[in-house]
Symmetry: D2
Subunit: 456 residues, 4 copies
């Protein structure tokens, strides 16, 4: 998973704004980050492994000045090629420069790459992004909209792009709108970002979502909008997992707010749940909204019974294998005084592999919990995502391989319930607008490539 931002000002330096915006979407990717800014004459950029606050020192930031820029944060990926995969990609073609940052995942990247390699193009990374950029470059002779339309004919799958040419900032969202892309404004600045917090942070106002299949171009202080094709009907399939897990509580994407959705999901899950417990305990921090919804609906009081260490970070020296239960405890210490002898409803937003839940349940048991009823405010994840969420291979998805009974045994809880797909869709107004393939395998776009994808 990744996050993108782009900022355009007619004549003011925006690099510090870009930095703050990027900081606000750090939750979308912690492996690497990068920024490219243009002063009209020249693009300068920097990118490296690490968090925004570590990579962009005051000194680095000073060297990046321009009235227009794009930036990117990237989620952790497997393999040794992480350094080569940092974004934005920056280059020049036919005396014009292009920079591009991408959130999403193509379903035919490898197929296109093979095609380009046959024509003698070299690739320096494993990213889909490079494929997009090279096709774009091939067609780009000065008219970015025309070249983008041609490019979008080739590329299939999920992509929200921010692009910078010599004098334009461009935003693009694929015809299904899998990944978010929000448009905002603050004074003379236009802002494009994966989430509205990147606009809020600057004191800007959200204008609207970029539409599926839309190309927005900001040039000479003006914004123009294009549809990539008159023939092709865009069909909104916004990713519902953004609302379940990925986006921040304050994200409003395609008119659904993540926090409201999460609270509602918790409430719906509680509706026909006859458990009679002493307290609802959220798994911090992501379990909070669901737990609030559950508690409100069930009238069981919430207790903050897992205490988080706010300082555990990158530099923490990992416990060895024998000490691994330490690892959970140093992050989340159960408040034994509160839970001893109590029956608790433990609320989390989702289960992927099940390993963390298992360690947590063990830790709560040792702290004296009498009963532990695990409640998940989303359906079981049974299918891999082809559109950019880093769900593991199906063989590692617990819900794809175990029945609920088997999961209860593995995790060690007393009972386990998921929100079902209908319940989940009840929490939104327009259920047809969402991709829910990770739950039911109903993929809006088929995968064309073989092998695993490297999403972004």
């Amino acid at each position: 998973m990744c996050g993108v931002v782009g900022i355009y000002s007619k004549d003011k330096d925006i690099s510090k704004q870009l930095y703050y915006s990027l900081y606000s979407i750090q939750h979308r990717g912690q492996e690497s980050c990068g920024m490219a800014v243009s002063n009209g004459d020249e693009i300068s950029y920097y990118k490296d492994m690490g968090l925004v606050g570590d990579v962009f020192t005051p000194k680095k930031l000073e060297q990046l000045q321009g009235n227009m820029g794009i930036a990117h944060v990237r989620y952790s990926t497997a393999g040794g090629s992480a350094f080569a995969n940092c974004q934005p990609l920056v280059g020049s073609v036919r005396k014009r420069s292009l920079a591009l940052a991408h959130n999403g995942n193509l379903v035919n990247a490898q197929t296109l790459k093979d095609m380009l390699e046959e024509d003698g193009y070299m690739f320096t990374s494993n990213t889909d992004t490079e494929v997009i950029l090279y096709i774009l470059a091939r067609y780009y002779k000065g008219n970015i909209v025309e070249s983008l339309k041609l490019t979008m004919d080739y590329i299939k799958g999920a992509y929200s792009l921010v692009i910078m040419s010599d004098d334009e900032l461009i935003g693009v969202r694929d015809p299904f709108g899998f990944r978010p892309l929000i448009l905002g404004k603050k004074d003379d600045q236009y802002i494009l970002a994966s989430e509205n917090c990147a606009i809020d942070i600057l004191g800007g106002e959200v204008i609207r979502d970029v539409e599926p299949g839309e190309i927005v171009v900001i040039k000479d202080g003006e914004l123009k909008s294009y549809n990539f094709s008159e023939n092709y009907k865009s069909m909104k399939k916004s990713c519902i997992f953004e609302h379940i897990y990925f986006a921040r509580n304050d994200a409003t994407i395609d008119d659904v707010n993540a926090y409201e959705f999460r609270v509602k999901s918790g409430g719906i899950l509680a509706q026909d749940d006859a458990i009679n417990a002493d307290m609802v305990v959220p798994v911090p921090d992501s379990g909070w909204p669901g737990a609030i919804g559950y508690a409100n609906a069930s009238k069981i009081p919430v207790a903050e019974a897992l205490v988080k260490n706010r300082y555990v970070g990158r530099t923490f020296i990992k416990p060895t294998q024998e000490e691994r239960e330490l690892g959970v405890k140093i992050k989340l210490n159960p408040l034994s005084r509160v839970i001893k002898g109590k029956s608790i409803v433990l609320v989390d937003d989702s289960i992927v592999r099940g390993t963390t839940s298992r360690l947590l349940v063990k830790s709560l048991r040792e702290a004296g919990a009498k009963e532990i009823h695990l409640r998940i405010t989303s359906p079981p994840v049974k299918y891999s995502c082809y559109y950019g969420i880093d769900t593991p291979n199906r063989s590692k998805l617990i819900a794809s391989n175990k029945t609920v009974e088997e999961m209860i045994e593995y995790i060690g809880c007393d009972s386990l319930r998921f929100l079902d797909i209908e319940g989940m869709l009840d929490a939104v107004d327009e259920p047809f607008n969402f991709c829910k393939a990770c739950f039911d395998g109903d993929y809006p776009v088929k995968k064309i490539d073989k092998g695993e994808a490297i999403s972004c």
Copy 2:
């Protein structure tokens, strides 16, 4: 404010345990940290400015090996002498080594320092701790208990100490027990720590609090307890502000649990509060327990309407003065979709200067809140602390200088209520056991020195 830990094992290396324990009390001090370990023959130590995870790299930790050790985290202090003030202090006298770490603040440090300087002693820091160590060293001829008793005759005020001699780990708590010190055990290890999370983290069990005026000595695998004086009557005056703000939710100090106390305080505050609002909004993260208590008692639902950026850290490039509202927003973004047009009860644990509350209220207003009723789950802080909490000078305490009406105007909220002192004491079983001088100026021990203290 500061935190201390000490670990003793008969024959196993405890440096990694010490590291994890120290990590768990990082919230007690973020400016500097240090560890000293002994292998029986030699004490090695390292200390520096910065967080535990940054200062103690795997390489540094490897160089610190021993079966016994003490460690310290220190809160931010003013002035350029921060480096000299790092703890533990380590030294040798009469062929014996001593290391000492301190949480608290003496009321006669300067007076004692003057006395020692007259005798030709040099001081290399501004800390009370150095005064304690030099007096201890002066009397220490091999019997640590005797020398500690003499030392405790001199020093007045708040001190929880962990001390390491050639073959003993020692814990000391002042006769009023202002600061916490907990004793625990895990297998053959004894653990002394400011909070029980440092014991929990190791999978250890809490034995009990070290008593006011008690000296515990762990030697040859055995624990012995001494009273510093038969004549002097210890009188428990445990700091109630630890429970209000400083300690983690999972801290149980002198039989009061911080989380339970906080929830109860919120409940008591709500009891006679006739506000009819749409939602209770906690100030993350410290406002949560009080908000839960308030919500349960008032039946107004809780909403997580301030979204925290979990990645803001030391390296974040600070906005300039003109951009300072950015600074609040990058940390806490109001969820405008949820609060727009709503009347909210904003719950925080305490108000010191009032500046953060003011910026928060402004930010909530801009996000559309209709009414903002600020509720503080502790009494107004009107007096400086002499015993180790870094409350600013009275002139900067908003409650010491403004009436509630004036505070409402300054902060910009629609109403403001504090928990009163009686309400606060209702939340504990034995109200006489607590120091509440910061609220009522009733200091258990008078300040002897002039000028401001440097607490630890």
Copy 3:
């Protein structure tokens, strides 16, 4: 200027060898460095700004394992694009990987780049190297020799290349052999390097120079040699400035040893120099061999009268403009006790801008030198280099703009003599084998591009 290394082993990890070899040619480039290694399946690489010893930490080096690898050090270049210009370049085309490192400078890079951009190729750096790689990739369908021959038809100028394909290590030297490339062997390893010290360091043996226009391919443990063209006659024009200044004393390139050449040059310069001075003073460290040659021929004794600070490095805080004479003194302090009242022959290998000589002469005067006779053991540099030496623009070359008389006045010495071109050529056996364009403007290959080149 730059330096390259490549190492091939049939089956042993060579990354540490590559590191040592790269370390030994650090003098060829201090701005950035990089290494790419292949284990047969996958190429991993790392590159960054900085010195070899800083960029390649033990941890980084551990992550780079393979039985084959290439590496690069890069000299300081102007402009903000330094990061993008780090080498080796690594990519893949038609399912095959390629990595390339380059020392030299093309005279038609821009022209070729324009051509490729017209065909839709993107460029991500300002280097000639990317041009070479893209042309190579375009033609590379599995037979590296065929694709290299086609590539070499396009590219004109100076290039010594080390290239790594999936299973081959390749060395290439342009038809004039401007830049060095040495072939060596140690046990089962083949080594290609800019200088023989990179072979010596491993305890290896030099086999021979790669010939002008030669392609050597090491595969399956065997070495094969190809000529890039049967029609085209290679003509050796080895850079004489390598021997004057750039290469280390222990470099033997095209059968000329730098140290011997330098001593001989000093001797020839002294032959008809009637100066009667008290001592010969070398400018450390590069002036030593010439000074030894001069002293032996003139019978004037050498004195080490300029004392170097061996610790001045990257992190040294630069003096401000007012303090700039400090800057010279902190690097070279004149030994006033030795030179006071004396007449000295100051020997340096070359003069480019003349600014350092001027400050040195001033510093020696202040230390009491009576007479300062500056002797340069090479001819005046009057023309820019198109083949990879970073001589500045002609307008900044002192010898291009001033007569000897004017130089004497500017520098402040009592007399100044250069070795003339004939004298310089007397120091080598085969004078026709050398490019001396920087002295006489007689360029073996004409510059095709306009504007300044970015050499490597």
Copy 4:
């Protein structure tokens, strides 16, 4: 071994000057460094492990401002307590501050430490320096000269001190003057330093050496001189090993210049040496002056046949045991083209353990040298130094344990000659003014402590 500097200005900030001066004496100690500056009101300081250029970043330097300061570089010492041993030591006593930096070694530090510990003083380091400071502090009631005189009655051995009080900069040299201390002036600044290069660097002028037994005090812009005792006769015993090895070539200490002494020593050694060799090869860099002297006297030409890698530094990844010959080669590569088949005189300044000489001789043999005649321009080191030079224990001194014949065999050279003690003394004007105990065991001051000293 260590180096000290002190700078006093009436009213200008001197921290950057202090930095440059400290940089210039970096060769006297590379393990740790520190600076303390005073602005009249307050002393601020910083010290850490590492080189001057790494420890003092521009940011650190900015935080250190004052018109008066002292600084220190420390040589590598054994043991884990290196961090605690960094200097200057800074403290306060009787409301007055004191900072102290020390070069030398006491012969009775332990004895005095025992005495002070009996009185209840704590020690936080292993340094003699702390002993000196505590005695000074004990007697210091405002008159620094009186307290220093009393202190000097106690302390025996070698000490050159720079001390800073609230308003004075003080320099002290022990009654034998073992270690250097030079007094200089630049405009309104007074400078005290271990070597004159620290004065030269600032463009200052050397006034004179501080005399054995002298105390110089700079206050209110004026310099006053005191003798520590009227009864006690100072007797100059300046360390001759400073001139042989430790000091820079440009050091002039007690009227002997290191470079002149070294050249003269080489000449004397050559006088009756009948070797008929092809070339004199210095061991870089310290062997150069002796080699020049030897070459001039013997008429055998010098050749720079060992090529040094100027970039080998702290961060270089050390070869493993099997690769250790790499270690020598990466530092010094023999120029085989020059030495093949030749008979060489290899000149070095001294031999301590003999291990480096052995590896060098092996490396030269492999490069083809026919005969290797090792010539050492100082006598065999047979005794440990008690006065601050870090010679190892006698058991590790090769000359203390082997005859010349045995050394030849161990090192592998064809012949070996040392300068004898008489020859060495011929190179100075006043032979009685020097301590030569490391050669003949004739110690000017007896060692009182038992055990090994930690020199500084």
